[in-house]
Amino acid sequence: MPLPVSVENAGGGIMSHMVSGAASGLPRRVVLTGLGVVSSIGIGVDEYTEGIRSGRSGVSPISAFDTEGFAHSNGAEVVGFDPTGWIRNVPVDQLGRASRFATAAARMAVEDAGLVEGELSQRRGMVSIGTTDGEAFEMDGLVGVELAGGPDDFDPVRVRRTPASRLSTAIAQELRLSNVETSTIGTACSAGNYSIGYGFDAVRFGEAEFALCGGADAVCRKTFAGFYRLGTIAPEFCQPFDVNRQGILTGEGAGVLLLESLDSALARGAAIYAEVLGYGLNCDAHHPVAPNQQSVARCIELALENAGVKPSEVDLISAHGTGTKANDICETAAIRDVYGATPPRTVSLKSMLGHTMGAASALAAAACSLAIKHGFIPPTINHVETDPECGIDCVPNVAVEADLKIVQNNGLAFAGNNAVVVLGKYEGDR
């Protein structure tokens, strides 16, 4: 069904060809041409690629907040990150910790796509960032101020950092994008996939000429304490699918992907990491925190249907794979519901990155794209013995070479918000 193209899309300029697919009335193919990554195992695409290939662990003792009184407090923090390397236009003190990660990753994605500042500024586009906690790290700090002196003492500059909408608007402001729709999607730990799917639909139907989409979160006391209380924080390492796994490690970072139409990428000679083939969304409507096997399986089916892909064609699954007892059993059972007794190799990036919350499925999507481009499968590290109840090949500890045509990226979340994205190798006409 053809869609009306915004009148502003009709202008000339370097990317005016981006509207051609929409004008023809067919949904456009959507490709990924830029990646920006801020993570505990590497900042920027090169470090991140090396990290996921070598099975690097991002674990360190948490330093972002006081962990006194907790018996164990490892996390996966971003260390050695200097936001001024990427954030030039917006005063850094106007940005909370998560917005800094998101904004830096967005600039990296634009540069990685071979675009220079100003090239996107007049084009109709989209910025969509998923998150679990928004700027809860900043709100934690305000609670400390409140306890010390009362809410009258709140610093207005700090308060203005707290809206979750800043994660996306800050990117537009930093990159001087005055004609982009911005959205912060607050669907917790699958929010990165939600945003990628949203960008996919906007570009596919010609409503945006490009989309900067992904996810961002910062570690915070609130969420650490909550998961700790639930008994789901691992004492040392995150060991997805291992028979002795003990839970998650809270992590942080941002992953931002630049999506554009295939026509646009070809016309400007951009390097293509991967094609976004489709995605699925659904809701368990079952339990606030526990996943639901049948609903997760249905979401996988929705994503494969949308991508026009049969289960037998999928070469790799990047699992949500939190490393909790409940998630890993439920998720692998859902995978077997769709794929049968021998599903494709199924890895968890969280073994390296910890659980980066709203950034998780975006960072995993970035990893999937790099895996497709460079022909390897990132390992599930910290792995000793696979839980027979999980029953998958999680590519333990060491990356393997593989020609990947189609990869599925799972995102599951509190509130039963499931989102699954399917990526494919770009190989010309299909």
Binding site: P163, E207, S295, F414, N417
Partner: protein
């Protein structure tokens, strides 16, 4: 192009006039102000006056089952969604299930729930002596997720954290879900609660100016024109919606560009717009927004229907309330039938936008 025409075929509201459409329609018809003195026993806030949903208590409205740990914002959303899906006798009148989406605008879920939880880890004897049953309330998608559980909404379930413009983003998101056939119908709206935490954050954020904060939830039922019929006659058509960031605090050109763009997409001349409803934020953006709209539409069109002055700043619910006030007008005013209307919105953190609708009217 019928599949791309989106119709609003139902709505529900929990507002400072009370629970339900009748209270809201009567209240806005009479132009009754809802602000009252803040109960300083209950609220420790910098505000003198506020527009609260009168006597709202989730346990009283929804019953004791499933509400023990429910926070205010979730209670408002579950109540409003329930009023849309069920009739007064409790019979389900809108079917749910996998083809029904829910898109809910918020600022940050419940700032109160988030900050309460952090406070408890800082003040308890041990930092992990926190109540696990309220931990899910600290995540922004709690309200939408609870609505799904209450009413078995198994389709796409999306929380948009957008502040004052969240309602426009939710409309855009919902329209895309329908266009891409990821849902056959969507519930789209916004929710905001009044709380100590929100009051203090907003007070410092806006620079300490006086303001009346409001609260509530509005949910619209939106369907593609080609499948309308099962749940009621169309009340309005969404002709166009668009949002953008604005740079350098320079709201004026950004809002003007959005208004021009949505009018062009809708094929509507400014003179055809019967009412342009501003968002009336209690900050410096208010004057600019009003000036832009008045320049384009004239004062009579901007003054015809207002909302924020009646029910206060409902933040993430404000756009949905602006639309609700137009739907309310269409219910009572024969003149409104068939009219083209516009709602605009601004969030001081740097987003603006507007939507154009055509009221169908019931008269």
């Amino acid at each position: 192009m019928t599949a791309d025409r989106m119709m609003i075929t139902g709505w529900s509201v929990v507002s400072p006039y009370g629970v339900g459409r009748d209270a809201f329609v009567d209240g806005v018809r009479d132009g009754r102000l809802t602000a009252s003195d803040v109960d300083t026993e209950r609220w420790q806030v910098p505000d003198r006056r506020a527009s609260l949903v009168p006597g709202f208590d989730a346990r009283e409205v929804l019953g004791k089952k499933g509400t023990r740990s429910m926070d205010r914002v979730t209670g408002l959303a579950v109540t409003a969604v329930g009023r849309l899906i069920k009739d007064a006798e409790g019979n389900q009148v809108v079917d749910t299930g996998p083809d029904t989406g829910l898109v809910l605008g918020t600022t940050t879920g419940s700032a109160q729930s988030m900050m309460d939880f952090t406070r408890s880890t800082l003040t308890a004897e041990q930092p992990f002596y926190v109540d696990p049953s309220v931990f899910p309330n600290t995540t922004m998608n709690c309200a939408a997720g609870q609505c799904a559980i209450w009413y078995q909404l198994k389709g796409p379930n999306t929380t948009i954290a957008g502040g004052r413009t969240a309602g426009l983003t939710a409309l855009t998101y919902g329209r895309r879900l329908l266009r891409s056939r990821r849902a056959a119908k969507v519930l789209v709206g916004g929710v905001e609660e009044y709380s100590n935490a929100r009051s203090w954050l907003d007070f410092h954020s806006r620079g300490g100016d006086d303001a009346v904060l409001g609260e509530g939830c509005v949910v619209l039922l939106m369907e593609p024109a080609d499948t309308v019929g099962a749940y009621g006659e169309p009340l309005a058509e969404l002709l166009a919606v668009e949002t953008s960031a604005y740079l350098d605090n320079d709201l004026r050109p950004a809002l003007k560009a959005r208004v021009d763009s949505v009018l062009a997409q809708a094929g509507v001349d400014p003179s055809q717009v019967w009412a342009a409803v501003a968002s009336q934020a209690p900050d410096t953006t208010n004057e600019t927004e009003r000036a832009v709209l008045t320049e384009i539409f004239g004062a009579a069109t901007v003054n015809r229907i207002t909302t924020g002055d009646l029910i206060g700043d409902t933040a993430a619910a404000s756009v949905s309330f602006q639309i609700a006030s137009l739907l309310a007008a269409a219910e009572r005013d024969p003149e409104a039938a068939g009219k083209v209307v516009l709602v605009s919105s601004v969030d001081r953190s740097g987003t603006t936008g507007c939507a154009v609708l055509r009221l169908v009217g019931q008269v």
